[in-house]
């Protein structure tokens, strides 16, 4: 049946919806586009014949089937691309503006381009809030304390704090810091909140 390859792409997205981003299936996308080309050309021919001899019901049905298949393929392709963008967007909010290399490795060059644009739009928006801008990717939880105790889970080198001083994040060291300085690192799994 037509549209099977496109459905494979959709299944891929469906399978990985809980997890991270799967690799961009360039080959799959190309094959769908090729199928569309074939369907289109076949329809062009049939339509040309129909114009000459206008009551051929049998080729009219074939044209209808191909037309539906073309629309179906288009829909699947767009959904595939669009839902990947949604996933990438979610990753931006979780990991911050720099994605892990293996995630980037699964993105197509055009997706990376989109990601950069998205980042820029988001940054522009956040910068427009108030005088100094407001980082909306922070403060995901209602605050309990100004400072919190955190444990460093991996060696992360130096962290520069808002007041300009620096601290060294070494594995297994514990720190008592302003909550606002740690929230990102906690979400990224570098620090762990100790209670």
């Amino acid at each position: 049946m037509f549209g099977e390859k496109a459905l494979d792409l959709i299944r891929e997205v469906h399978r990985t919806r809980e997890g991270s981003l799967g690799p961009y299936n360039e080959d799959g996308v190309r094959q769908v586009l090729e199928e569309m080309q074939v369907l289109y050309e076949a329809n062009q021919q049939d339509v040309a014949q129909l114009v000459q001899n206008d009551s051929d019901q049998t080729s009219l049905t074939a044209v209808q089937i191909r037309h539906d298949s073309l629309q179906r393929n288009k829909r699947c392709l767009l959904a595939y691309l669009y839902n990947r963008l949604q996933k990438i967007r979610a990753l931006r909010w979780e990991f911050g503006s720099v994605l892990p290399t293996d995630v980037r490795g699964n993105m197509s060059p055009k997706e990376i381009e989109w990601f950069t644009k998205y980042n820029r739009a988001l940054a522009n928006y956040m910068r427009s809030l108030g005088n100094g801008g407001l980082d909306l990717t922070q403060d995901l939880h209602p605050p309990q304390n100004v400072h919190i105790e955190v444990r460093c889970v991996e060696d992360k080198g130096e962290l520069e704090l808002d007041d300009g001083s620096k601290i060294l994040l070494k594995k297994n060291s514990l720190h008592y810091l302003p909550r606002s300085q740690c929230e990102h690192l906690i979400r990224q799994g570098v620090l762990k909140h100790v209670t």
Binding site: Y118, A121, N124, D139, L140, P143, V146
Partner: protein, 219 residues
């Protein structure tokens, strides 16, 4: 800290003084509503800008104060709380904007300048976002498709808020004669009266404007 702040254009009478506590209450009100409504609500830059200013003032005060002053950490916590609510509110809006960007842009121009759901910055963000998505879909797929299939209509194909979504609400100001079911045939139009403090479950579509003018609050 200064307790009163100028807010201009809040009421028709002209300038009115309200306290920072009141502004924060208003923020909390629109925050809760925004989180519970399926559609993006009208933008309230009057409130958010006021809060942003207030936050900046607090930051400056904290920076000036001595570090060991006990009051500082209380102020800091207060500031953190305000920032959390504001961020959460704006984040919630951003999520809706991302989901329904094309629809909202279209609506913005059809509604005209009198009602704006998007702040200029949000509008800009929505624009950049839709153009980004459009050009990605075009470059990655559409332009390789047969000519007659290259069209993309995000606002038609894309996401539209579900205004039929049911919401819980509490009545702040009494209101009479609300049409409850406009889809049942004209013969039998259901109308109800809203009494103060009563709670209802209704389709959002029917009470959207009542939420906007604070007749009811979502709960």
């Amino acid at each position: 800290m200064d307790d009163t702040l100028d807010i201009s254009g809040v009421s028709e009478e002209g300038e009115e003084q309200i306290t920072s506590e009141q502004v924060f209450q208003q923020l909390e009100e629109i925050w809760v509503n925004e989180r519970l409504s399926p559609n993006l609500m009208l933008c309230r830059t009057d409130i958010t800008e006021c809060i942003l200013e207030q936050m900046q003032e607090m930051e400056e005060n904290i920076a000036r104060a001595k570090k060991t002053d006990l009051k500082v950490s209380l102020h800091q916590l207060e500031l953190d709380r305000i920032r959390y609510v504001l961020s959460s509110y704006l984040r919630c809006r951003l999520e809706k904007i991302e989901k329904h960007a094309a629809y909202l842009i279209k609506k913005e121009s059809s509604d005209g300048p009198s009602v704006s759901r998007l702040s200029p910055e949000e509008f800009m963000f929505a624009k950049e976002l839709t153009s980004g998505v459009t050009s990605h879909l075009t470059a990655s797929a559409l332009k390789h498709m047969p000519k007659n299939l290259q069209t993309l209509n995000l606002e038609d194909s894309g996401k539209v808020p579900n205004l039929d979504h049911y919401v819980f609400l509490r009545v702040n100001k009494a209101e009479e004669g609300i049409i409850v079911d406009c889809e049942t045939d004209v013969q039998n139009e259901d109308k109800i009266d809203l009494e103060v403090d009563a709670q209802h479950i209704m389709r959002y579509k029917l009470i959207e404007n009542l939420v906007e003018n604070q007749t009811v609050s979502l709960i």
